[in-house]
Amino acid sequence: MYRILEREDLTDTIHVFKIDAPAVAKRAKPGQFVILRVAEDGERIPLTIADFDRKAGTITVVFMEVGKTTMQMAKLGVGDSLANFAGPLGLPTEVEKFGRVVVVGGGFGVATTYPIARAMKEAGNEVITIMGARTKDLLIWEDMMRSASHELIVCTDDGSYGRKGLVTAPLKEMLEDDCRIDRVVAIGPAIMMKFVALTSQPFGVPTVVSLNPLMVDGTGLCGACRVSVDGVTKFACVDGPDFDGHKVDWDLLLARQKIFVEEEKISLEHWRHHESCECSKAKA
C-alpha cells in the first residue's frame, strides 16, 4: 500500500498527491511515469511523475478528475493509501545542455513539465516556459514554473489571465522572430502537442513530446499503448513516452485514445450509482 502524505487541490478538479513510494522515488527521473491502481479491482492508470524527493522517498503526481478512477482517487485524503504504484516507468526525458529550450505545458500537463524545466535549467539551458489553460481558474503551478524557468509566458484561451490565446501563438512568434531555439519540449493534451509540433516543424527545431496513449501494464506486455512514429509502431510505455513530435502519427494517437469512451461513461455511471447507494445504506 502506498500512503498519501499530502494533498493539495489546485482547482476543483485538479489535485496534487504526495505519495510515500521510496522504491519509485529512489530512481525516478524527469519524464518518467507511474502506473497505479486506486483499489482492488481497479484499473491500472498511468500518471506522469510531477516531482520526486529521493531523500524523503516521495513521488508527487498531479491528476485531473476525468473519469471513474480519477474521481474515485479524488475522494482519498491524507492517510489513505493507493493499492498499487509501480514505477518509475518509461525512459526519462533526454536532458543535456542544448542551449535555449522552450518548455510548453497545457492543462494539468503543466505539472509534468515542472521536473523537466527544472532539470533543463540545472543542466545549464536557458529555459523559456509557455504554459496555458482554458481559463484562469485552471492555471496551475505558476509560481513553481516561474522558479524553474528563466522566462514564463502564461496564456489562457479566454484571456482571463495572461495572454489571450493558445500556447502555440507565443511559440510561433519566437520562432518567426528568429530568436534561436534549440529544442522544444511539449506536454499536455494530445491535440496541443500536435499543434506545437506542427508549429515548430517548418523551423526545423527538434520537438520532444510526451505521448499519453491508453495503457494497461506499462511494461511492454500488451501493446495497448502502441503509437506510430516515423511509420514504425512503438510501445509508448517502454520505447517512450517521449518521441520526436514531428514524426508522430497524431491522428492515430487521437483515435486510439477514444477506444473506450463509451465504456468510460458506463464505468462512471455505475460508480456514481454505487456511491449513492452506499451513502443511502450508510444513512439507513
Partner: protein, 475 residues
Amino acid sequence: MAKLNLNRQPMPEQDHKERARNFKEVTLGYSLETALAEAERCIICPKPACVKGCPVNVPIPDFIKALRENDLPGAAKALKSKNNLPSICGRVCPQESQCEALCVVGKKGAPIAIGRLERYVGDWELRRMEENPSVPAKPTPTGKRVAVVGAGPSGLTAAADLARLGHSVTIFEALHKPGGVLIYGIPEFRLPKSIVGAEVDYVRSLGVEIVVDSVIGRTVTVDELLDEEGFDVVFLGTGAGLPNFMGIPGENLNGVYSANEFLTRANLMKAYAFPEADTPIKRSKRVAVVGGGNVAMDAVRTALRLGAEEASIVYRRSEEELPARREEFEHAKDEGIVFRFLTNPVEILGDKGWVVGMKCLEMELGEPDASGRRRPVIKPGSEFVLDVDAVIMAIGTSPNPLVTRTTRGLELNRHGTVVADPETGKSSKDKVWAGGDIVTGAATVISAMGAGKRAALSIHEFLMMEPRINADRSG
C-alpha cells in the same frame, strides 16, 4: 492379470452450450471413484516410458500406484517430489505429446489419463493444505539472499526450492499480482485463479517475500540488486511477454488487440466483470483471432464468452499443423468456434479508425519447410474480405527486453532470449541465472518449472561454496 481396459474414464465437463457463455472451469475433474478406476488401468511398467516423456521426470507409476492403494498423501508426495505445481500442470500440460504420448497402454488403446490423475491428486493436496494449514518446517537459514525476477512458474518454482534450502528469497514482480502467464494469460475457464492463488500462498508460506509493482530494469536494475541491494545472486524468470504483430496495414486500428492485451484485460483485470471491475473490454460481435496456438484458443474462447456472435480462428496452415493442444481445439470446436484454416490475413480494413473487415488470402500446403511442416503457399486469386469488427493477434511473443537491455554483460541470443546453460540455468553474467520462457522463448509451464528447479539446485551449490571463498579472501 485382469483384462486391460482400453478406454479411459471420461472427464466430466460443463455442457458446451452453457459454458460458452460463462467463465467457469470447463472440465470438472475426476471424482475419487473415477480417479481410482482410471488408476486401475495403469500397468505400472517396471521401465516406465511415460516418465521419459515428462520434462521434469515425475515418478508417474509411483504416484499412480499410491493413488490406487488409496494412499493420497503418498501419491501427492511422489508427485511433488518433482513437480511443485501439480494442480496447474494437470490442467495445462500438453500431456498428449509428453508423458501420455509414450504410455505403453496407449499402444493398444487410450493412454492412461496421467494429466487428469495428476490434477486429481494435486487438487486433493491443495484441499488438504487448506483444511490443515501446517507451517512448513523452517530450514536453518544460510544467510544468503536471492532475488528472483518474475513471479511466473519458473520464478515461483526457483523461489520455493531455494527457500526450502534455507536461503532468504525475494521475488520481484512487475504486475500487481504474482503468477505470470498463469494469472494474466490463461483464462479462468481453463485454470481457476483460486488454484494459482493457493500455489502462490504456499510459496509465501515457505518464507518467500513477493514484492509486486517492481519493474526490474526500471524500479531497480539487476546490477543494482547485486551491487547495492545486497543480493548474492539473481534468477531471471521474466518470461516472453512482448506481443508480436504481423506488420500488415491496419494493425493499429481501433479494435485490433494483441492476445496479451485482450487476455490481460479479461483475466488479470477481470474485465469480464466490467463495470463491477473497472477495466473495460469491447464486447465485439464478430471476432477473428489470428494464430493457432494455445494463446489463440484462449483468446477466441474468451471472445465467445464475452458475447461474440461469431468468434473464429484464422490460421495459415491446416488443422494438422495446429500447435494448440488437442483438448483445447476439441473444446473450442464444441463451443462453436469457427476455424478458418489455410487462411492468411494481409490487411485489416478500417472505417473512421475502427476495424470493419480483414482482407485474407487462401493458402495451400506446399513443400515441407525448415520445421518439417508443409509450407503454406498462396492460392492465386483467392483474396477475400472477412466481415469482422475485432481482430486479435496471437502470433507469438518475444522476450521482454526491459531486463535484458538494462543488465550489463548478459549474453543474448538472436531472438533476444538469454543464453543459459540448459543443465544449470547459469547465464554468461556472474551471479545471474535464468530459466523459463526468457531462455527458451514461449514454451510451456512445465518446462519453465523444470528450469526453475534446475537453477535452484545450481544456485544452491554456488551459494554453499561461497563462504569458503569469502573466508579465503578474508584470511
